[in-house]
């Protein structure tokens, strides 16, 4: 039965944000508990919805109400496999970030509670973005997510936070406004065909001429490429991630950037299938450049958070490659990658944040021999790093493998070159680990405290999921598969038949 589950899911964090703000300033602890409580309830509800989705299908969750009739805009929410995975990821990472950032907002520009209220606000808007089935609603929420993130970076980050926040905002707005032009174009096409409507289900029926489709595609793609971020539109990410608190960075890279790759699947492939196919060569090359360039630059970083930000650029290269390889394996892999990347990068950012907050410096050169002083911290860091470099047995490995295999079946040369990215990943993670954790104990490191219970508690669910999905990814893959198949159908491509098919006997 449909009782507006998704609206409920969207409202819950909003109410939480308001409730958090209403707590008196003096009771900082209470405000944090309120925020955590709301995020946990949201997680439970998201889980219920995900389970319901798997059992009963998407129809139970679709909602649609006319919002602005003159624009053809609807308040329409709905789920598909990709959306479910990202909604769950959002609901999962938020409480983790709240626990991990428990004391990070004390030195902010504003009260502690506002940090947590902004986080909940961001969660609500992100869930809306992943669930919107109306392009206008999507656009509105897409742009609205910038506001909480802007204040999270600008209010609670490092010394250069204002600069980083403005840079983030302007880059995102540039992409967003070009997308606005395309969104307006969609309206015009839809109005010409009859009654204007922004519902995805109506827009896919539009007959768009080749040139128009390509221009509109470019508007959307540019916005998503900035968001994802892909080289050469990536320079805002390292600044933003380095200046923000680790928790904010997790939300930024783990959730907000996923909107870019999510949008590529749902809107670029969904609305402009022919233009997407037309753009494939260029996009794939850009993705490959992102993979290699991100990894190479990561190796050269001297700042821990910047390094992790560049690893993400490399990972996003893989995701985009999987999407535009246009094979079911690649698409499934990419969607899974979005989820797994959220987990592993969250772990890496948070542990790095623990380390940085203890020493008070993000420079790699300031560290050495941490593993002798704080073995648990070093161990979790190594685990998070290994998951980031896609060690077999951990969940990112499966998605990276699927992306590469999916790409290989169609674009052999690209896939072969992209494999170098895996080697580079091993380099940037292991070199960082070596410099930070091994060797003689540096000055200032000798009194480093090991992780406390709260910090371990924040990382533990991530570790469990990374290992669990590394061994048994089937539940998530099952959710993603149908959505991928319908997208493939929409684009009108089928997987290439393998050159050496598996025969019954070999199975």
């Amino acid at each position: 039965m449909n009782i507006g589950w998704l609206t409920l899911l969207l409202l819950l964090p909003f109410v939480g944000a308001i409730a958090t703000m209403l707590v008196p300033k003096a009771k900082a602890l209470l405000s944090k508990q309120v925020a955590l409580g709301f995020s946990l309830v949201t997680l439970v509800l998201a889980a219920v919805i995900a389970i319901g989705y798997q059992q009963n299908g998407a129809a139970d969750y679709a909602e649609s109400h006319t919002w602005i009739e003159a624009f053809g805009a609807h308040y329409a929410l709905g789920l598909d496999g990709v959306g479910v995975v990202l909604v769950v990821l959002t609901a999962l990472l938020t409480p983790i970030v709240i626990v991990a950032s428990w004391n990070d907002a004390q030195n902010g520009r504003w009260s502690e509670k506002s940090f947590f209220a902004w986080i909940l606000g961001l969660e609500a808007l992100s869930i809306g973005v992943f669930a919107a089935t109306d392009v206008f609603l999507f656009y509105v929420l897409f742009e609205a997510t910038l506001i909480p993130m802007y204040f999270l970076i600008g209010g609670f980050g490092g010394a250069q936070r204002s600069y980083a926040a403005v840079k983030f905002l302007l880059y995102s707005l540039l992409g967003g406004l070009l997308m606005l032009a395309s969104v307006v174009g969609l309206y015009v096409l839809s109005a010409r065909a009859g009654d204007p409507s922004y519902l995805l289900s109506d827009l896919v029926k539009l007959d768009i001429s080749q040139n128009t489709e390509r221009w509109l595609f470019l508007g959307f793609f540019f916005a998503f490429a900035v968001k994802a971020p892909m080289v050469p539109f990536h320079t805002w990410l390292p600044d933003a991630a380095a200046e923000a608190t680790p928790g904010t960075s997790v939300l930024l890279v783990g959730i907000l950037d996923k909107i870019g790759t999510f949008g590529m699947i749902r809107f670029c492939l969904g609305l402009f299938p022919n233009a997407s196919e037309w753009a494939t060569p260029v996009v794939l090359v850009l993705a490959l450049i992102s993979v290699l360039y991100g990894a190479l630059v990561a190796i050269g970083q001297t700042d821990i958070k910047r390094l992790i930000a560049y690893t993400s650029i490399s990972h996003f290269g893989f995701i985009v490659m999987g999407i535009f390889a246009l094979t079911s394996q690649g698409l499934t892999g990419s969607t899974l990658y979005m989820f797994n990347h959220g987990l592993s990068t969250a772990a890496l950012f948070l542990v790095a944040g623990y380390l940085i907050s203890r020493r008070g410096s993000a420079r790699i050169a300031d560290y050495g021999g941490v593993e002798k002083v704080a073995p648990v911290l070093a161990g979790t860091f190594l685990f998070a790093g290994l998951s980031s470099l896609a060690l077999p047995g951990l969940s990112p490995f499966i998605s990276e493998f699927m992306v590469l295999a999916g790409t290989f079946s169609r674009h052999k040369v690209l896939a072969v070159i992209a494999v170098v990215g895996i080697v580079l990943a091993a380099l940037y993670i292991l070199i960082m680990y070596q410099r930070l954790m091994t060797g003689p104990v540096r000055d200032g490191i000798d009194k480093l405290k090991d992780l406390n219970v709260r910090e371990v508690a924040a990382i533990a669910p991530l570790a469990v999921l990374i290992i669990g999905l590394g061994i048994f990814p089937k539940p998530v893959v099952d959710i993603i598969k149908p959505a991928v198949e319908s997208t493939m159908q929409r684009v009108g491509v089928t997987d290439k038949a393998p050159e050496i098919p598996v025969t019954e006997g070999q199975k």
Binding site: A70, F71, L146, I147, G155, V166, L170, Y187, A191
Partner: protein
């Protein structure tokens, strides 16, 4: 005998549709009553009475207009001089609503030690003994209220003028009171008087252009009425040179009032110098009236020669957007920044105007240019007055602290005020869920619907540049430390509070549920002739 000399028998009284023109008559009549009251009432009573006359007449006119709208009466009234059609009525309503808010600001006396924002005696030399005495005796200029009524009456007439001469008369009727109002600031009187002088000279210059254009068009068409010119254009009797020159000169005069580049140079100086409540009134209401006047003339009278004027308007629209947003970046004064922002907004409005999305141009589905422009004017007017109302509250010993550097750290001092101002700025920047976004969306889609998609691309890029300077102010207010000698935030009286609250409410509502106002704008339909 007498009848032979004076052909009395041929004289028929002009038919005046009093019912349809009632809103105009109420406003003008109240303005005259205000002048009389100013002459005969004792000084202590004047403020109260004038405020009452103004507010009541504006509200009555608004109610009458609303009744006309609900009756859906559309006609050319007063022997073809005034066109009371959907767009005109819609414009009247928003003009009256915004005037009411502005009048509240004019009446505010609690932010500046019990005195209004206007000079006690405009004739007293700045810094003189007479001025000090006047201030000490709390002398006030209550003439601002009838002046405002004349201005708004002129604007209403301007937006509904169906005849070029009426257009010109209306222009002068609303311009002259504005010139006066600009020069009446209590603080910084020299810069205020300078602004009035500049505005007057440049305005007179623009009026001359307009008049010359009207003369040439008359030479071309042999008629002053908009419909008549359109008929002549349709039958195309030649005389292209007169038509083109007339169109160009008329365009200069109208674009001057709109504040479009390259006829914008008065805007920043006048906005900065004028008393802030007047600036808010001008920024919102003048723009509305001027824009509707511009559209009416070009759509109704000159629609047939669209291909002659469209290229010019394309260039003006692009220049206005680009120059408005880029030059705004370099501004260091809040009021000047808002002035350039209003120029950029004029550019966004022009995109919809140039798009000509209307049935006459083969557009039958979706949003029309008129609808988009009407909506945009609403979504721009309310935050504008609200923003200027906020500006009146940030004060130091010398009056309003309008230099941007003085706004640093305002978010610490008064989070509520800074938050509201930030919200207005976000609306100007066109961030979703604010009125500005819906407005932008409407004009962009109207432009594209009419085929002007390159303008849309320029517009979104200009929006980005514009967003930069709005966000810079937000950064300044929230991300900077509070200096030791920061200006005070005056405690507003109910007048300013309600002006800000109304602006804020409109900005939120138009951002979240713009449907009703959009429908109303759609119901307004097209200009009739």
């Amino acid at each position: 005998m007498i009848a032979q000399i004076l052909p009395l028998a041929d004289f028929t009284a002009p038919k005046i549709e009093y019912g349809e023109l009632a809103p105009l008559l109420v406003v003008f009549g109240a303005a005259c009553v205000g002048v009389v009251a100013e002459a005969f009432l004792p000084r202590p009573l004047r403020h109260m009475v004038q405020l009452a006359i103004t507010a009541v007449s504006v509200i009555v006119a608004g109610v009458l207009t609303a009744m006309l709208m609900s009756e859906k009466k559309e006609l050319i009234a007063a022997q073809g001089a005034i066109s009371v059609d959907g767009p005109a009525l819609f414009t009247w309503i928003i003009l009256l609503a915004l005037t009411l808010i502005s009048v509240l600001l004019f009446a505010e006396r609690s932010v500046d030690g019990g005195l209004s924002a206007f000079a006690g005696q405009a004739a007293a030399v700045p810094g003189s003994e007479a001025e000090r005495e006047g201030t000490a005796a709390k002398v006030e200029h209550t003439e601002v209220f009838p002046l405002t009524l004349f201005a708004v009456g002129g604007m209403m007439l301007f937006a509904s003028a169906n005849d070029l001469l009426v257009l010109f008369v209306a222009l002068e009727v609303f311009s002259l009171p504005l010139y006066l109002l600009c020069g009446l600031a209590r603080r910084r009187r020299l810069i205020s008087q300078e602004a009035a002088m500049k505005y007057f000279l440049l305005g007179a210059f623009a009026s001359a252009f307009l008049l010359f254009g009207i003369a040439l068009l008359y030479g071309y068409a042999g008629t002053m009425s908009l419909g008549g010119i359109s008929d002549v254009l349709a039958s195309d009797t030649g005389g292209e040179a007169l038509l083109l020159a007339g169109t160009g000169l008329l365009g200069v005069g109208l674009l001057f009032k709109v504040g479009a580049v390259p006829f914008h140079s008065w805007t920043p100086d006048v906005y900065q110098g004028a008393p802030t409540p007047v600036t808010g009134f001008m920024a919102a209401c003048t723009k509305i009236a001027a824009f509707i006047g511009l559209m009416r003339v070009f759509y109704v009278a000159l629609g047939g020669s669209r291909w002659d004027w469209a290229p010019m308007m394309w260039i003006v629209a692009i220049l206005t957007m680009v120059v408005g947003s880029i030059v705004a970046i370099t501004q260091t004064d809040v009021k000047r920044m808002l002035a350039y922002s209003s120029i950029a907004h004029a550019g966004f409005l022009l995109t919809a105007f140039v798009g000509v999305a209307q049935a006459a141009n083969g557009v039958h589905n979706g949003i029309t240019s008129t609808q988009a422009v009407l909506f945009y004017l609403v979504s721009y007017g309310f935050p504008t007055i609200g923003a200027f109302a906020v500006v009146t509250l940030v004060r130091d010993a010398g009056g309003e602290a309008t230099h941007l550097s003085r706004w640093a750290g305002l978010g610490k001092k008064s989070p509520l005020l800074a938050g509201i101002f930030a919200f207005f700025l976000l609306s100007f920047a066109g961030i979703p869920l604010t009125a500005g976004f819906t407005g932008k969306w409407a004009v962009f889609s109207a432009a594209w619907t009419g085929g002007a998609w390159p303008l849309v691309v320029v517009a979104v890029l200009s929006s980005l540049v514009a967003a930069f300077f709005y966000i810079r102010v937000i950064v300044l207010m929230f991300f900077s430390d509070l200096p030791a000698d920061s200006p005070d935030v005056a405690l507003p009286g109910w007048q300013t509070t309600s002006a800000v609250a109304l602006g804020l409410a409109a900005t939120v509502v138009l951002g979240l549920v713009p449907g009703p106002v959009l429908d109303l704008a759609a119901r307004a339909g097209e200009f009739i002739r």
